[in-house]
Assembly symmetry: C2
Homo-oligomer: 133 residues x 2
């Protein structure tokens, strides 16, 4: 057994039946776990994180968003489609301009929690927490 | 231009300089965006979601955790290593038994927000919100 295995395993097999049974009763299904994992997967991309962070500050049109994160409109458009499908952003059309904003406050709270988690050890995280009110 | 492109783009290029400038001033760096994306990447896996959900309920030893999610100890051990490296879980040794628990309440809040987001449209999400107090 490798050293890292010893570090992450009990040295004997010891199942506490009462604990296992109690947790199984409230356990989420595979489908629910997958749906939850998919939400986090949408946020697990640095370009999408930057776009959401920008939209957290204010509503922006697609061209503005591309300029802010210094990406092509085509790339931003592609990522917006993913964010829209996952209901993280919403849009409104004003003439020829398409404005995007956050769908709700959940993204803000998710980012805040993520940054708070990171800020235990990372100075960079703490400073950005000030931005998310 | 494909239909989906028209749907996700402005029909003219129109950069609102004031908006772009204001958002750029508070924008996160590429490194910060990547670090934040990495946190969400740790949660973007259904096995790890199930393990964290189980630990949200109570502290469990490695054997218990494997029994709860019906996975091998080797697989659970591997995922625990990833969760530990990302500081989402902590452990204590009691003799030959290794007990794991959530590192802090951030995971709980992250899951709660994820479920709340999903519960706009999905009945499954709402029922599990009751579990996370």
């Amino acid at each position: 057994m490798a050293d890292f295995d010893r570090f992450d395993r009990c040295e004997v097999t010891c199942i506490h039946e009462e604990a296992v049974s109690a947790v199984r009763q409230v356990m989420i299904s595979d489908d629910v776990a997958q749906s939850l994992a998919d939400i986090f997967k949408t946020l697990a991309d640095s370009t999408r994180v930057k776009m959401l962070f920008a939209l957290m500050h204010r509503e922006l049109c697609v061209c503005d968003l591309a300029a802010v994160i210094r990406a092509s409109e085509s790339s931003v458009s592609h990522q917006l489609r993913i964010l829209r499908t996952n209901k993280l952003v919403k849009f409104r059309r004003d003439g020829k301009i398409l404005y995007y904003s956050l769908a709700d406050d959940h993204v803000k709270t998710l980012f805040k929690q993520g940054l708070e988690h990171a800020s235990h050890d990372e100075a960079w995280a703490a400073q950005f927490l000030d931005f998310i009110k």
